[in-house]
Every structure is written in structure tokens, then in C-alpha cells.
Amino acid sequence: LTNTNITDAQEMETIWTILPAVILILIALPSLRILYMTDEINNPSFTIKSIGHQWYWTYEYTDYGGLIFNSYMLPPLFLNPGDLRLLEVDNRVVLPIEAPVRMMITSQDVLHSWTIPTLGLKTDAVPGRLNQTMFTATRPGVYYGQCSEICGANHSFMPIVAELIP
């Protein structure tokens, strides 16, 4: 470590410190710009509330009245042939496609998390807090998700099913 060929290379050390820093800045600035662009303002056409309980979800459609219902997992004995075990529910949340939808998510008891992976959605349901997530779906169909925050004995048995219709 005392060989003079590997000591006192001040110029090289300056260059290989400053240059990577500049490269990182050049990467970070467009990245931050895109990050803020993804947080666009879009006026939703529809608001639905999703309230997590142990161990089911309640959905409220209150824009035009008071439609409120619970969504429980269908036990295996109640499944029809072709149904997905631990994913089907008695009442699905029905949503429109091609319309910006605002989901307001909260919890009545402990932490839960409302997730639909195929729609790119995951939002924590925190008691006393109202979290907002927005999305615009483009394809009709049935989309499944599962509670994504440990919430007790039946955490694995409170799925989310969204039926997207034209």
C-alpha cells in the first residue's frame, strides 16, 4: 500500500468522484419529473368507499344515495365448479370501465390493505385515516385481490373482487 504508483492520484480521484455524481444527477432529474407527472390531477367521475373489518370488506356507494353492502369470502363449501378457492366473495364491488374511479379506503378496527394487483392497486386501510387511490380501468372483467396487511386469524380469508363492467 506504499507503492508510489497507487498513491497521490488526486486528479483521478476528483474525476471519478465528480463524474458519477453528475451522471446520477442526470438520471435523477428526469426520474423525479416523471414521478411527479404520475401524480396527475384527474377529476373522478365516481367515488366508492372501502372499509376494512375483521374479516370482511364493506363497500359504500354514496354519490347518489346510500348503497352499502358487505363482502365476505365464500367458504369452499359454497363454491360453484370453476370458482376460485379463497378468492370468491358473496358481493363483488362493481365498477365502470373507462371512467376515473376514486377509492376511499379506511378501516373500522385494525390495519388492512385493499389490493388488486392486476389493476396496480394497493392501499393501506388505516383506522381513523382515509386513504385515496384513483384508477381508470380499460378492460372489463373480474379482478381479484387479497388483504395485504396482517389483521388477525382470518387475514387470508377476506378477498377483494372487483367486477368491471362497460
Partner: protein, 86 residues
């Protein structure tokens, strides 16, 4: 101005984007609209004006706030234990 508000209420679809609350946490948005509705209702009642102009706030808080929260707050108001200032 009253006509504009009535047109706005008539054309209400859902709570629009509010730049006062631009982020994910909309708790305050719900709370503020609930308070604003009751402030408005109290003020209009005191002046003898039309309460219909306050409907906008009611529509917004009904869209945003979980029903259980609204029921709890209404009960608290009835019992005079509501924490907000109206």
C-alpha cells in the same frame, strides 16, 4: 352566485379534486367538508337564508366520509361532545 351554486349542486357527480387536499390522506378533506356544512347551516339559519346553498358541502362529505364516521359525528353533536367547533 346562488344560481351558480345551485347549478353546481344540480350537476353534482362526485366530490371533485380539491387542491387544499392534494395528497393520499383525505381525512381532513372529509372532516373539513363536514364542518363547513354545519357552519354554513348554522350561519344560514341564523340569517334566515336558504340552507340549500349548503348542500354542496353535504354532497361532498357524503361522497367522501365513511357512513360510520358521519353517524358517530352526528351522535356526538346530539350529545354535545363533538370535538369540532361549529
Amino acid at each position: 352566485m346562488a344560481e351558480d351554486i345551485e347549478t353546481k349542486i344540480k350537476n353534482y357527480k362526485t366530490a371533485p379534486f380539491d387542491s387544499h387536499f392534494p395528497n393520499q390522506n383525505q381525512t381532513r378533506n372529509c372532516w373539513q367538508n363536514y364542518l363547513d356544512f354545519h357552519h354554513c347551516q348554522k350561519a344560514m339559519t341564523a340569517k334566515g337564508g336558504a340552507i340549500s346553498v349548503c348542500e354542496w358541502y353535504q354532497c361532498v362529505y357524503q361522497s367522501l366520509c365513511p357512513t360510520s364516521w358521519v353517524i358517530d359525528w352526528d351522535d356526538q353533536q346530539a350529545e354535545s361532545t363533538f370535538p369540532g367547533k361549529i
